[in-house]
C-alpha cells in the first residue's frame, strides 16, 4: 500500500507551518507522528497534495508543570506522556489512558496533538481532555487561541480547528483523583467505550469516547451523581449511540453504563 503522490515540507517553526497551511488550505495535511494519517494515506482514503511535517519544531515536545497546570506539547509522543513523572504525579488519569492506547510502536510515534486533531470518535484522549476540562492551545494565521476541550470536538474527524490552525499544546489542570477505563474493540483496540472520570469535591466530571460520533461530557451523570455510582444509568441520556458489528447501540449503551459505573467506583 502506497500513498498517492504528495509534496513533503518539513516546517521548522510553528509560524512556518501555519503559513504553509494557510497557503495550501484543504490540499495540505499536518503530519506529526503519522500514526493516523499515514494508514489513511496508504489506503488512499486521504490524499493530501502537501504534507507539512511539524515533528521536531522546537518547544512542541515538552511536558511542563506550572503552579496548578500540566502543559503537554502537541508533539509529545504517547510514550513520552506515559513515562513522564510530571504526568504520573499530577495527571495520573492521562497516564492511565496512555497505557491503554495503541501499542508500544504506535505510542513511540503517535502524538497527543495528532490524536486530538484527528478526532477519531473512538480515540482515548478525547474522554480525558473533556473530563479534565483541558484547553487545547492552537495557533493560526490570526495568532494563538485557546479552545476549551468541551468546545473542541464537533463530529467524526471534525474539530473546532480552523483550516490554518495547528494544535501547539494541551493545558491540563492538575487532577488529584481521576480514572480512565476502557473497553477494547477486540480488533483495532480502540475504545468501544472509554470513560474518564475526574472527581472534584463531591462532584464528578465524566468524559465518554467511543459511544457517540462525537466524544461527550455525560452531564446527566454528573448532575445525578451524589456519591452514588447508580448515576451511571444516565451515561447515554440524550446521546445517539453508535452501532457496529462489535457493539450495536443497545449493547454499547449498556456497556457505557457499566464502564461509567466502574469508573465512578474506582
Amino acid at each position: 500500500m502506497i500513498p498517492a503522490k504528495f509534496d513533503y515540507i518539513k516546517a521548522s517553526s510553528i509560524s512556518e507551518a501555519v503559513n504553509l497551511l494557510d497557503k495550501h488550505g484543504y490540499d495540505a495535511k499536518i503530519l506529526s507522528g503519522g500514526q493516523s494519517l499515514l494508514p489513511a494515506m496508504k489506503l488512499r482514503l486521504n490524499r493530501p497534495e502537501i504534507v507539512i511535517d511539524i515533528h521536531g519544531i522546537p518547544g512542541m515536545d515538552t511536558i511542563e508543570e506550572t503552579g496548578d497546570e500540566v502543559i503537554i506539547g502537541a508533539n509529545c509522543t504517547h510514550t513520552q506522556i506515559l513515562n513522564s513523572e510530571v504526568v504520573y504525579k499530577n495527571l495520573n488519569i492521562m497516564h492511565q489512558a496512555v497505557q491503554t492506547l495503541g501499542d508500544v510502536q504506535v505510542r513511540n510515534r503517535g502524538t497527543i496533538g495528532g490524536s486530538l486533531a484527528h478526532a477519531d470518535p473512538s480515540a482515548d484522549y478525547p474522554a480525558v481532555v473533556l473530563a479534565c476540562e483541558a484547553n487545547i492551545e492552537v495557533e493560526g494565521k490570526n495568532g494563538k487561541r485557546s479552545i476549551a476541550a468541551t468546545e473542541f470536538f464537533e463530529g467524526i474527524f471534525t474539530t473546532a480547528l480552523e483550516d490554518d490552525e495547528i494544535i501547539t499544546a494541551v493545558r491540563f489542570p492538575k487532577i488529584a483523583h481521576g480514572t480512565y477505563l476502557k473497553f477494547y474493540q477486540s480488533a483495532s483496540r480502540f475504545a468501544v467505550v472509554g470513560v474518564a472520570v475526574v472527581h472534584e469535591g463531591s462532584g464528578v466530571k465524566v468524559g465518554i469516547t467511543g459511544v457517540a460520533d462525537t466524544p461527550y461530557r455525560a452531564t446527566e451523570v454528573e448532575k445525578a451523581y451524589n456519591g452514588n455510582s447508580d448515576a451511571a444509568e444516565h451515561a447515554v441520556d440524550g446521546v445517539e449511540v453508535m452501532s457496529d458489528h462489535f457493539a450495536d447501540s443497545e449493547y454499547r449503551a449498556h456497556l457505557a453504563k457499566v464502564m461509567v459505573k466502574r469508573a465512578l467506583e474506582a
Binding site: 500500500m1 502506497i2 500513498p3 498517492a4 503522490k5 504528495f6 509534496d7 513533503y8 518539513k10 503530519l31 503519522g34 500514526q35 499515514l38 494508514p39 494515506m41 496508504k42 489506503l43 504534507v51 511535517d53 515533528h55 510514550t79 513515562n83 495503541g102 501499542d103 508500544v104 510502536q105 504506535v106 513511540n108 510515534r109 483495532s188 483496540r189
Partner: protein, 154 residues
Amino acid sequence: MNVTITVNGKTYTHDIEPRISLVQYLRETLDLTGTHIGCDTSGCGACTVSVNGEAVKSCTMLAVQADGCEVTTIEGMAQNGEMHPIQAAFKEKHGLQCGFCTPGMVMVAADILKNHPNPSEEEIRHGLKGNFCRCTGYHNIVKSIQLAAETLNE
C-alpha cells in the same frame, strides 16, 4: 528529496520520493529484506524496527521522516556474527515457526526489555500487543523474552 539515514551503523544518502515508507526504503533501496510487511493498517508489527532507540512500525513512517535518524533493523542485531541475546533466546525457546513475524517480534522485544528489564508475563504480553504471530500462539515468544531478560540481566 534527499535523505540521510544511518542504518545499522552505516550512513546512507538517497534521493527518494516522499511517499516511500521507511520499510520500503529499507527493503527496496537498501536491500535489507529482513524487515517484513504484513499489513497496511499498522496492525501486525512485522515491520518493526528501532528508530533512535525506540521500536516503530516502519510501514507507518515515511523514509523522509527518518532523515537524520539512527535506524536499527533485524540485520543489525547480531554483532560479529553472534546473535543478540534476544535472538538467541528465540532460538532456544522455539519462539518462531515460519519466521515472518520474527524480526518484528525481536525488535519490539528489545523495546519491551529496555523499559522493563525484569518484565512480568503480563508486561510482556501487553508489550506484544502490536505484533501478530499466527504460528506460535505467543506461548514460546513470551518464554523467549523471559529468557532474554534473564540473559541480559546476567
